[in-house]
Symmetry: C2
Subunit: 278 residues, 2 copies
Amino acid sequence: MGHLIQKSTGEAEPFNIGKLAMSLERAGAAPDIAWKIAESVAREKMMTSKDIHKATLHASIRHDRKLAIRYNLKQALMDLGPSGYPFEKYMAALMRASGYKASNNQIIDGKCVRHEIDIYLEKPEENIVGIAECKFRNQPGSKIDVKVPLYFDSRFRDVIHTFDKQFGVGKRTYEGWLITNTKFTGDAIAYGKCAGLHLLGWTFPTENSIARLIERHGLIPVTALSSLTFRQKRQLLDRGIVMCTELSNHIDFLRDIGVGRATVMKIQEDIGSLCRHR
Amino acid sequence: MGHLIQKSTGEAEPFNIGKLAMSLERAGAAPDIAWKIAESVAREKMMTSKDIHKATLHASIRHDRKLAIRYNLKQALMDLGPSGYPFEKYMAALMRASGYKASNNQIIDGKCVRHEIDIYLEKPEENIVGIAECKFRNQPGSKIDVKVPLYFDSRFRDVIHTFDKQFGVGKRTYEGWLITNTKFTGDAIAYGKCAGLHLLGWTFPTENSIARLIERHGLIPVTALSSLTFRQKRQLLDRGIVMCTELSNHIDFLRDIGVGRATVMKIQEDIGSLCRHR
């Protein structure tokens, strides 16, 4: 514990060196390295959580570039914007890694109206069919409020009507997933749980959050590659390249958008060490 | 038919003198007066629907101040903003005139979460209990899209669970009202109808729209009084005075906010002729 820092939500909280060290350990740092970095950041007396993030990132890069990339994943997800589509594509890949078949942008006629479904999900061997709605936000601190699971619940019910017709009543287990790169309000979580929806946020639910799924499956977005400029990342997203694994098949794209030879080699190295294995 | 005019949505449509005359007749003008005003407006070759509205208002005032007030009701409703609360209060009064008991800002615990209910409705003699959600917009041309009835439907279902406990299953008919001073998209109407919600908009449903209910019950908002300045209207709203009938009990407020004696008399005359009877 120590001095107060200002969070992106505007709230203040005491600086917690243990929490910072833990987040570095979760990003893959050995405990002694994590504490060393956290202590060096603590000495700088930062005022905002953004400053702390930046300082931690710089200190991490000095120790281990891979660690820095993993520590910076939350920002990398925000950098998938401004449109929500790259995040939907990214989340489909993460759901695939979790054992689902997943496809983006399906149109399904519900009982009442037609719905654009961000991700259509299936787990054939477990007789599971589902839909996922993705809420991408690139404002840190913004939260998904209760209106979102309320409206998604009606959409889910409306689509279930079609699934019942298609598969037969009781033949499948239906899953409705509400996914965001940010947080849910307490009410949104309460409603989601009560309505039987699957809520998935950056740190929710604790053991199976997006942060944990990324750790578990090692799926890194292209926006996490520290050797690329912001503009180059945007150009890759515009060409539909979201995952850094996709990049290994499209190294020529990097040259097209003006990435120099030395940087291409650095990126290939990152892809080799980060994107396939952890 | 005539030249093209630009609507507030950005779309263009041919100027239709018959449509303009009809809207004046609906506001209470005799057919010959309505046509006379519409023809005088047509001669001015307006370019936008806003210009036409303004010119019609001026031409109407020359004929009959009461007509002008009724013609300007849609704008008067927009002037209830910027917050949504005066509109909620106004709609509760309009629902009362339609035979409901109506109270604003009730908190109801649903099955899953607690809800703030804009209007709680009852019709005891018909065993009806309901909730209404108000969507106030002060941008002309903005529409209520399908997400709103989707989320309101879940809220309504969640609250019904509480009503069932309170009144007993099957003892009451439940009504869910979604109310806006603007329009619904086609999808919003399709979902609302299919889900059994009551949708009420400025011109929807045709025979029982807000515009028609105001005509029928003669409930005029204070913002319609042409003798008051924009600032004076805002000051009345801030004091919780929304209906011009409420004003007749609070004529002293008018003096407090600096309305001159001659104007007060003019307003009292308007209240007498417009707000109680048609």
